[in-house]
Subunit: 151 residues, 2 copies
């Protein structure tokens, strides 16, 4: 489906456009992540850990916008690959502390480059100022809307 084939009323619906654009974005990123066996959520988690250091799974869930239950599987995957370490928190024995390993840091760097390239591909038809504008508009929309997961 090219966009010009889609029904005209849909082509003007912001919610439809943004959903279609998200599909394109995800395909673009995944096409580049596939060859190195990466996933989008992996990048989110590694990024969060790199930015703020070790943290509990629940805190990471909130910051990454991922459900607690999904974070379990995500940490399992990355821990199996040695990119991340999970150990019980001695001061609060409900928690696990998840931390980045050296391998995880290397992995993150590789993902960063791949994902940066995907951004360029995605925004190819836009000028630099248009790209800024798009980012600003989307940010405004997101800032206005409540968090996804109050649970």
């Amino acid at each position: 489906m090219d966009i010009e084939d889609a029904p005209a009323p849909l082509r003007r619906l912001p919610s439809w456009l943004v959903s279609q654009a998200a599909l394109v974005a995800q395909r673009t990123v995944n096409n580049r992540l596939g060859p190195i066996g990466g996933q989008r959520r992996e990048f989110s988690l590694l990024t969060a850990l790199d930015e703020s250091g070790p943290d509990s799974q629940a805190a990471l869930s909130r910051r990454c916008g991922v459900d607690r239950s999904d974070m379990v599987a995500l940490v399992n995957d990355l821990a199996r690959g040695g990119l991340v370490e999970r150990r019980p928190d001695e001061t609060d024995r409900r928690r696990n502390v998840v931390s980045l390993t050296a391998a995880g840091r290397n992995r993150l760097q590789a993902l960063r480059e791949v994902i940066a390239a995907a951004q360029d591909e995605l925004l190819a038809p836009l000028s630099p100022s248009e790209r800024d504008r798009l980012v600003a508009l989307l940010t405004t929309v997101l800032e206005h809307h409540p968090p996804a997961m109050p649970a």
Copy 2:
């Protein structure tokens, strides 16, 4: 997750922003569709039929950006609800012709109103010209990227 809780590197990634915005958009639409038992694909199909009249499932698949196999189930659902009619095409016996019923037309009108309200909610923080700008930017991005389903 509020956007300001998300890792900073993510907050600047266009692919991440557009995916998050799509989530918000889908939640907004679904929250309003839920009470009347509607789905997003239903709206796409009814819209396509209303715009261009009866058509084959394959053609509708292409225009709605839905896989042929998924269109089968979609038409099943809507036909069961009497919103759509499926009959064999006498002139090309490979095809089914799907057409809108009177009930389908009424349903479409109801969906239109609900979805229009969702757009307003989604874009609440944007001025009219900003909304236009966002639509234009997303359209440009979509026009530049190849169709999703060559199959």
